[in-house]
């Protein structure tokens, strides 16, 4: 992979104004001035309203189906308004469909993966952004190149490795391969090269602080907002990751997406129960999006390749 096909601006962007000191604590350094800002006409609002409706409707309908019962769901016209059984269906999904165990497993898996990704990405991102060392650019290109390798390709040896380690059907099998992320490293590097002034690192050196100390006392406080965003995005990805958990885990110890497949594959198809499971498995992320929507949006836009 070369720079040409993944055009990444490794230089500091000239068009971004230098961040004001007070804005360092937010992700604002990522936001250059908006290119063009016409006011939206009524048509734009209508179109965006349709997009928002299409985005939200399937989830709304998940809730509707989860709140009725199996016979009502299978009638035409289909129900459009919630019924009375939401909580009993959710409770059934939690108990009968292994969703309870799956939710706990997914919380552990996504939590550990997000924590370790953030930690290692911040360390590596700091090194790539502010420390000088031989082979830095080559290594950075390598990091970017690894983004192009789909993990699915190595799934057979990985499966053999896990059964050799005795981790088949165990959570470590899902956690270990995803402890780091190239996207995360690159994201933190982009953030720190703009948000962390060279002078601060130099000052730390002059005071005789070693690198880990500089990382701990100078880099971490500045990196915090980006770390929070990276944590959330990684959590979402880990929570929703499907192929590898599906391969290596079984129904005795599933994550949420794995448990959901079992719901749909059952011989007795209870549609309300299926939808209750789907809703349950999505709920934590939805809450996160409602509370931290602004941060997640700005984080995704910040990680984007611009140009």
């Amino acid at each position: 992979m070369t720079t040409e096909s993944l055009p990444v601006r490794t230089d500091a962007p000239a068009r971004t104004p230098a961040p004001k000191p007070e804005s360092r604590r937010s992700l604002r350094v990522f936001r250059p001035g908006a290119g063009r800002q016409h006011h939206a006409g009524p048509l734009a609002y209508i179109l965006l309203g349709i997009v928002a409706l299409l985005s939200i409707f399937p989830l709304y309908w998940t809730m509707v189906a989860a709140s009725t019962d199996n016979t009502r769901v299978s009638q035409t016209p289909p129900p459009f308004l919630p019924g009375p059984n939401l909580f009993s269906n959710l409770a059934r999904a939690w108990d009968e469909a292994a969703m309870g165990k799956a939710m706990i497993n997914s919380t552990i898996v996504a939590g550990v993966i997000a924590l370790s990704t953030v930690m290692f990405a911040t360390l590596a991102g700091f090194a790539f952004a502010k420390l000088r060392f031989k082979g830095r650019n080559v290594l950075l290109m390598l990091v970017i190149g690894t983004m192009m390798v789909p993990p699915q390709l190595g799934v057979v040896p990985l499966f053999m490795m896990m059964s050799e380690l005795g981790w088949s059907q165990q959570l470590p099998a899902v956690i270990f391969p995803t402890l780091v992320s190239a996207v995360g490293v690159f994201f933190m590097r982009q953030y720190l090269s703009e948000a962390l002034p060279d002078e601060l690192v130099e000052a730390g050196r002059v005071d005789g602080a070693h690198s880990l100390r500089i990382f701990w006392s100078i880099v971490l406080p500045i990196a915090r907002p980006a770390m929070a965003v990276l944590f959330m995005i990684t959590f979402v990805h880990a929570w929703n990751d499907f192929f590898w958990p599906f391969v290596v885990l079984d129904m005795s110890n599933p994550t949420v997406p794995v448990a959901l497949t079992q719901l749909s594959a059952g011989y007795v198809r209870d549609q309300s129960l299926i939808m209750a499971g789907a809703l349950l498995g999505t709920l934590p992320l939805l809450v996160m999006f409602i509370v931290f929507g602004r941060q997640i949006v700005s984080g995704i836009m910040a990680g984007a390749v611009k140009g």
């Binding site: 055009p7 399937p58 050799e164 402890l179």
Partner: protein, 331 residues
């Protein structure tokens, strides 16, 4: 780079000169040795965890896949590897299901990626307007991205249900015949693509939006002075201005498309999902890989499919580069 080297030298000079002037001997010198070790070694220590984990759990398996693909290995006896040279490849080449899965992967890939990126472009353009509630619209577009493949595929499977699904009901309301979305090839592929499009359009739109906002305003002013219409500005300023982002999303979507697995699996509801429908009408390479390895217990053949997927990616990217170069030469 130049400034940093001088800075580093200046720092080293400061450090180096202090023991001489202070003359405090071994303690200081050891300190400076440690310091140099720290400055030289710490960066590698900081980037090491990424490379170690990647090497162990991504790179090594990737390489080892090719070795396994030259063997006969069964799921029940993973430690017994029988050398069969290129037999797996020959069999795969002669296997109709492979060509079927390859064709399905390509068609579903096109049906899901092209409309997705075009709609994302339009959506980004809308989101770039100055307006009330822009945060709401951005978060709303991103809601599908927060939904897991599992949940999304389950809902859409129900919406596309033949007898009581909402989509066929809506077809009936406007006087269209109901469609058997699962059993027929193209409807099934369209339904599966719909799930992909739903999940990823908003995410791609945000990437485009970020790039659009980085386009300097004076380019639009210049275009407007030249009398360019809004549409002309869009095609001549906006799109070229975010070209690299478009390429980036094409690369990511292409990779995603070759790996497609969860959507067709769940859409097929259970055993039918792994084979991609009764007639394999929507079996992708991802599903074939799983079927060979974990249903037919042939890990060697599964690895061969993985390797074929990798080759497909390489072919796509080489083709893309060639097209790009050819176009660069003509223009």
């Amino acid at each position: 780079m130049a400034t940093s080297t001088t800075k580093a030298q200046a720092g080293a000079g400061r450090r180096g000169s202090s023991p001489q002037s202070g003359g405090e001997g071994a303690g200081r010198r050891r300190g400076s040795l440690l310091h140099r070790l720290d400055v030289k070694g710490a960066p590698y220590a900081f980037v090491a965890p990424f490379f170690v984990v990647f090497a162990a759990f991504s790179f090594y398996p990737l390489v080892y896949t090719s070795w396994i693909s030259l063997h006969r290995v069964e799921l029940a006896t993973l430690d017994v590897m029988e050398w069969v040279a290129f037999d797996n490849y020959v069999e795969l080449w002669n296997d109709e299901r492979f060509w079927n899965a390859l064709a399905n992967t390509v068609t579903i890939g096109i049906i899901s990626t092209v409309p997705q990126l075009l709609m994302a472009l339009g959506l980004a353009h809308l989101l770039n307007y100055r307006m009330r509630g822009s945060l709401f619209f951005r978060v709303a577009s991103l809601v599908p991205y927060a939904t897991s493949v599992g949940a999304a595929a389950l809902v859409f499977t129900m919406l596309f249900e033949r007898d009581f699904g909402m989509i066929n009901w809506a077809f009936g309301v406007v006087g269209l015949d109901p469609v058997d979305w699962e059993a027929d090839k193209w409807p099934a592929q369209i339904a599966i693509s719909t799930i992909v499009i739903w999940r990823w359009t908003g995410y791609n739109a945000l990437l485009y939006l970020a790039a659009m906002q980085a386009i300097p305003a004076d380019r639009y002013e210049a275009a407007a002075l030249d009398g360019a219409s809004r549409w002309k500005q869009f095609t001549h300023v906006t799109v070229p201005g975010i070209r690299s982002t478009i390429v980036f999303t094409i690369v990511l979507s292409t990779i995603g498309a070759t790996q497609l697995f969860g959507e067709p699996l769940i859409f097929g509801q259970g055993p039918n999902g792994i084979s991609g429908g009764a007639d394999n009408q929507y079996q992708t390479l991802g599903l074939l890989l799983y079927e060979e390895g974990w249903k037919n217990y042939q890990m060697g053949r599964s690895a061969t499919v993985a390797w074929a997927m990798f080759l497909l990616l390489v072919v796509v990217f080489v083709a893309q580069r060639l097209i790009k170069r050819a176009r660069a030469r003509t223009s």
